[in-house]
């Protein structure tokens, strides 16, 4: 009997955790705090990752993430259920990150293209078995991070949503409230700039 009750409780917990997002949104919009907490838990990783990619550091990404969820909480009752919630969330994230960059003048503080990418390579413990691979991965991340940081914000948002997050061009256009042609042009320009940056970095390494 006790075992059956335990299984039933576990089933309830499981069912509660698997509540469809639409229902959660509906309940959160009605003022249920637990539902909004669930929405935050389900989407925090995406928002944080997107913010980190756009802003380039964890502290700013955390602040942006808080602001995103505050805006979501304020405007959730105006959200229409027939729309894509995550597209809406990404749009808010992009807007918040753009505001953050404007506010803190991070664009002027972004690292120069000519700066040495090895300046701030993450320190990796040498004891690790895969230390070399981790170091290489960190260098690549640093390289791409620098390359993305030099892009204009619109191109940055487009390339992250398209190539990093894996959205289609039409989805990116919808998220950014732009046209597919504009997004395609931004993506093309961003890829070219990143390619040029990586090529220059490779040339510098070979010359050393």
């Amino acid at each position: 009997m006790a075992l059956a009750l335990e299984i039933q409780l576990q089933g309830n917990v499981l069912a509660r955790n698997q509540t469809p997002l639409a229902l959660l949104i509906e309940r959160a919009a009605a003022g249920e705090t637990a539902a909004f907490e669930q929405i935050m838990i389900q989407s925090q990783q995406r928002v944080m990752a997107m913010s980190w990619r756009l802003l380039g550091n964890e502290a700013d990404a955390r602040d942006a993430c808080q602001e995103v969820f505050l805006r979501v909480y304020k405007h959730l009752r105006h959200f229409k259920q027939d729309r894509d919630f995550f597209a809406w969330l990404y749009r808010i994230t992009v807007n918040v990150c753009r505001d953050t960059l404007k506010k803190r003048h991070l664009q002027s503080q972004t690292r120069s293209i000519d700066a040495d990418p090895n300046d701030s390579v993450l320190e990796i413990p040498a004891e690790q078995a895969d230390a070399e691979e981790t170091l290489l991965q960190a260098q690549r991340r640093e390289l791409i991070s620098r390359a993305i940081a030099m892009l204009p914000f619109k191109e940055r948002a487009s390339i992250i949503l398209r190539d990093v997050e894996g959205h289609s061009t039409e989805e990116v256009a919808r998220i950014l409230k732009s046209s597919s042609t504009t997004v395609r042009s931004q993506i093309s320009s961003a890829r070219r700039k990143i390619r040029d940056y990586c090529r220059r970095h490779q040339t510098m390494q070979e010359s050393q």
Binding site: C65, I194, C198
Partner: protein, 250 residues
Amino acid sequence: MNCNQVESLLPLYAGHDLDARTAGRISMHLQSCPACTDAAAEYRDTRQLLEDFAPPEFSEGTFAGMRQVVWRQIETESTTPSFSGLIGAWFRPRLGWAVVTAVLLVVFALGIYFMSDRRRGQQPVAVNSQEMDAGNGQPKQSALPAFSLAASRENNSQPLSDQRPPQKRMQRTEVRDRDRTSSVAMIAASAPQAQPTTSTPNDSISSGAAVNGDTQKTLRMEIQTKNPNIRIIWLAPRDAKSPTPNSRGI
């Protein structure tokens, strides 16, 4: 397609963002062009780097702290009214008082207006140069021609709304007309041939006819001032000397 055209389309080709026909044409060009093939490989590598551009692992503590901050801010904002809410709250209890004050002010202003209007109606507006005989109430016989300044409200048929010039202007007009009357009286007094006539203020105002019915012997002159309520009527004997040139401007 030449190399320049292919080069311009390679970023989109690497990301599979081109239509099938254009992509096929680029693929055909790449088979025969090593330089463009190398460039395409670079774009593919770049795209691969972007796909591997994963953020660092964020700890659960980071997310929990973030959510706590969000809830704290939500609570703070719900307890602290917003700027617009503050303005609304400031106006809400005072709006009733403002309406009551405005109504009282309007009532007060209307009261003052009607009171002053009534007082103005009671004031004698007419100015008559004739002196009334104290004994029988008849106009006193005078050696001067009779002048009457007709401004009586009782004889005015205009509606009340048209009789509301500002009081100061009315008083100024009266003073001016008194001056005119006195100056005409002085002119008339200087004419020794003037025959006395008799008139009542009502006669001169209402009908404007010659006094005593003797139209043959009496000359009547009416001067309308700017104020429609005030009219100067000048009665003089026909055989009297014409007024001096100075009096024509009256």
